[in-house]
């Protein structure tokens, strides 16, 4: 039983803050993935939980007990290292049995328990080998076996699959998920692979430069990224991010940029002399854009017609404005290159000064250089603050007398 709580933890190396004020609460049985680019502090955070690195600030709690000062061996956690750290002079059997041996268990008990674990991981035939006589995948299993052998409160894993080839990685991913389901233990899993994060996690913590950008389920993190960083990190290709400005036009809000006009489906009755101009970042996922040739002018009929609640994020409903539905947003540009992914293709288009990727089912029938119009439904657009990068949500005014003059920042 382990619930892991990280409270406002910071780790400094000289002037560098490897981890900067991160707070997490991992409930018992959760599968938390720490996700982020290289050097964002994932390993450092995990090692602080494990007790291998001590925080410069903040606390680490296991089941409500403050273990910040406790050595690693007293935390009842198991860790799988990225390098596996199998003891090179010990056989597979003794490697797996090591945690029990360190706890001075009886030889017969150790032998029995190792046999059980070897059975689960299909290592029975390898027990007498030394690590160097194992393949990468087998080493990975032994490392997993060493963690499993003593039924710890929680499993910590630092990119355990990064040394495996694509096929083995997929297989092992499924196995670890299965293991988590069966054991019901808490897992904290470090990766920079978003596919692992999306498929394995019950919750994902996205880190950037030591800071926690967002904590949520894989769906939340993908569908409503809390910052431009998260939006640009997840997805392949990731979300298109364009510098845009929010303006009000005919009483409605639009995000506009060169070649871009995206009605946001938000009413904003303008008063004399009042002009809204707010710099922002417009985000659209490649799969939410549809392509048509520029010659085929006119609004796309299927893209409009969202009567209500078509705010940039679905969770903040529009202030009940009875607008007849926002017209489809359009981006005008030209195709620069096309990538064939087999089932789909990615068209990279130039819109104004920005590069926009579009995911389309094959054959999309476009050629490089062709002028195109990209359309997107307003509810599939995301807005982020230009300065802070945080997500912008529309907050309707409480008092209907006062018109909304600002788009507030929600963090």
């Amino acid at each position: 039983m382990s619930r892991i709580t990280v409270e406002n933890v910071t780790r400094r190396y000289g002037d560098v803050r490897a981890v900067d004020g991160v707070s997490l609460d991992v409930a018992h049985g959760d599968f938390l993935v720490l996700l982020g680019p290289s050097g964002c502090g994932k390993s450092t955070l995990l090692r602080m939980i494990a007790g291998l690195v001590s925080p410069s600030d903040g606390r680490v709690l296991v089941d409500g007990n403050d273990v910040t000062e406790a050595p690693a061996r007293d935390r009842d956690l198991a860790m799988v290292f990225q390098s596996y750290a199998l003891y090179p002079h010990l056989t597979v059997e003794r490697n797996i049995g090591f945690p029990l041996r360190a706890r001075k268990q009886r030889k017969a008990d150790i032998r029995r328990r190792v046999a059980e674990v070897a059975d689960i991981l299909d290592l029975g035939a390898l027990l007498d080998r030394r690590p160097r006589a194992l393949s990468g995948g087998q080493r990975q299993r032994v490392a997993l076996g060493r963690a499993l052998v003593r039924d710890p409160g929680a499993f910590l894993m630092d990119e355990p699959l990064s040394n495996l080839d694509a096929q083995l990685r997929t297989a092992t991913r499924t196995e670890i998920t299965e293991l988590h389901r069966r054991l019901g233990r808490t897992f904290v899993y470090v990766t920079h692979d978003q596919v692992e994060a999306m498929t394995m996690a019950t919750s994902v913590a996205v880190l950037n430069r030591g800071r926690l950008e967002q904590l949520g389920t894989p769906t939340e993190v993908y569908d409503t990224p809390a910052s431009a960083f998260v939006a640009g990190f997840l997805g392949s290709p990731p979300m298109n991010l364009l510098d845009a400005e929010i303006v009000s036009r005919d009483g409605r809000l639009h995000a506009v940029a060169e070649g871009v006009d995206v009605p946001l489906g938000l009413d904003h009755p303008s008063h004399e002399g009042e002009q809204v101009r707010r710099p922002a970042i417009l985000g659209v996922r490649p799969e939410h854009l549809s392509l048509r040739p520029a010659a085929d002018a006119g609004p796309a009929p299927e893209a409009g017609g969202v009567p209500n609640g078509s705010a940039p994020n679905g969770s903040a409903p529009n202030g009940g404005a009875p607008n007849g539905g926002a017209p489809a947003a359009t981006l005008r540009g030209s195709v620069r290159s096309i990538e064939n992914l087999g089932s789909e293709e990615i068209a990279h288009c130039r819109v104004g000064a920005a590069e926009v990727a579009v995911r389309a089912r094959r054959p999309a029938g476009f050629t490089v250089g062709e002028a195109v119009v990209l359309t997107v439904r307003p509810e599939h657009t995301h807005l982020f603050d230009r300065e802070s990068g945080r997500r912008l949500v529309w907050q309707p005014d409480r008092d209907p007398q006062v018109p909304a003059a600002r788009v507030p920042v929600a963090t």
């Binding site: 061996r73 090179p88 360190a102 910590l156």
Partner: protein
């Protein structure tokens, strides 16, 4: 409807390019052969200087030594060497001092092991936490005696260990006459040699410890092992190649050879042969008494003997050590 299915052919190599030089004739082939031969020879040409040095300075003297061991000769260029068969070997093995000198060599090896293994390992384990500049300074300080010429240190130690005025006796209040009593002399020679090589061994052990991947100790501590368990079960086994190297160096280099300048300047093998090890014996009989035949025979025997010791130690090390890869 008429028609048929046709298999898609697997990709094939493009048609081989026919060598246009096929009609080039014999001169061409010969030249190509010469070029290939030349290419084969070149690597060996690079090795020639090194091989030449080895042959001139190592193998030729070795063969000559083996040769002289079957002659009686007093090293004088004017005297002819007379063949005596196995006589030199017979004399060597019936030397009364031989057994004693081998034994004392063994004692010196055992006496040196604390300096080359035990203290360096303890110091290395304890000083792992020292980092940065402090570590470099400390290692430089401890390495320093290794750089002092043995004859110079012999002079200093002679003064330190002098019976009445020496700092050692004054500090301990003893009246041991270090270089003129049997056991104290052996202990002094071994101790001074140990003082010499200690820094070297400490640095070697520190390097060995530094080369052990820190992940192992971290993994073990998460696995619940105590510091002592980690040391016993991981650090020392992983350090074993380094330790075998140090045992080898002690047995083949430090105990028989590094003691020599100290013995020669401080005790001359005495008192009553108490500090005569095999190398000093070789020196006494061969060089000092101008008996080239006996010295050569001893040289050959020691060469084979130490070779055997080295082979056994290496064999053991192959068995017990793990190379971390």
């Amino acid at each position: 409807m008429s028609g048929m299915f046709v298999e898609v052919a697997p990709p094939t190599l493009p048609a081989p390019i026919v060598a246009p030089a096929a009609a080039g004739g014999r001169g061409r082939t010969a030249r190509r052969l010469a070029r290939r031969l030349g290419r084969g020879v070149v690597p060996y040409l690079y090795l020639v200087p090194a091989l030449g040095m080895l042959i001139v300075w190592i193998y030729r003297p070795l063969v000559e030594t083996a040769n002289y061991s079957f002659y009686s000769w007093n090293l004088s260029p004017t005297q002819p060497a007379t063949p005596v068969g196995w006589h030199n070997y017979h004399r060597l093995f019936t030397l009364p001092e031989l057994g004693g000198s081998v034994w004392r060599t063994l004692l010196m090896i055992i006496g040196l092991l604390p300096f080359t293994i035990v203290i360096p390992v303890v110091v290395g384990l304890l000083s792992r936490e020292v980092r940065g500049r402090a570590r470099s300074i400390y290692q430089a300080l401890i390495f320093l005696p290794f750089l002092v010429a043995p004859v110079a240190s012999a002079a200093v130690w002679q003064w330190l260990l002098s019976p009445r005025t020496g700092a050692v006796n004054r500090a301990t209040g003893s009246s041991v006459n270090w270089f003129h009593e049997r056991w104290p002399a052996l202990i002094a020679i071994t101790g001074i040699t140990g003082w010499h090589v200690l820094g070297f061994a400490v640095v070697v052990v520190a390097a060995g410890l530094a080369s052990i991947n820190g992940d192992y100790a971290e993994a073990a501590s998460v696995d619940g092992a105590s510091r002592w368990q980690i040391t016993r079960w991981l650090t020392l086994p992983l350090l074993s190649p380094t330790l075998v190297f140090l045992v080898l160096a002690t047995a083949l280099l430090f105990a028989p050879q590094w003691t020599f300048p100290l013995i020669d300047t401080l005790t001359q093998g005495g008192p009553v042969d108490a500090t005569t090890n095999v190398y000093y014996l070789l020196w006494e009989y061969g060089i000092q008494s101008f008996d080239a035949g006996l010295a050569s025979a001893a040289g050959v025997v020691f060469f084979l003997g130490f070779g055997l010791v080295a082979a056994v130690l290496l064999w053991i090390s192959e068995r017990v050590t793990i190379h971390d890869d």
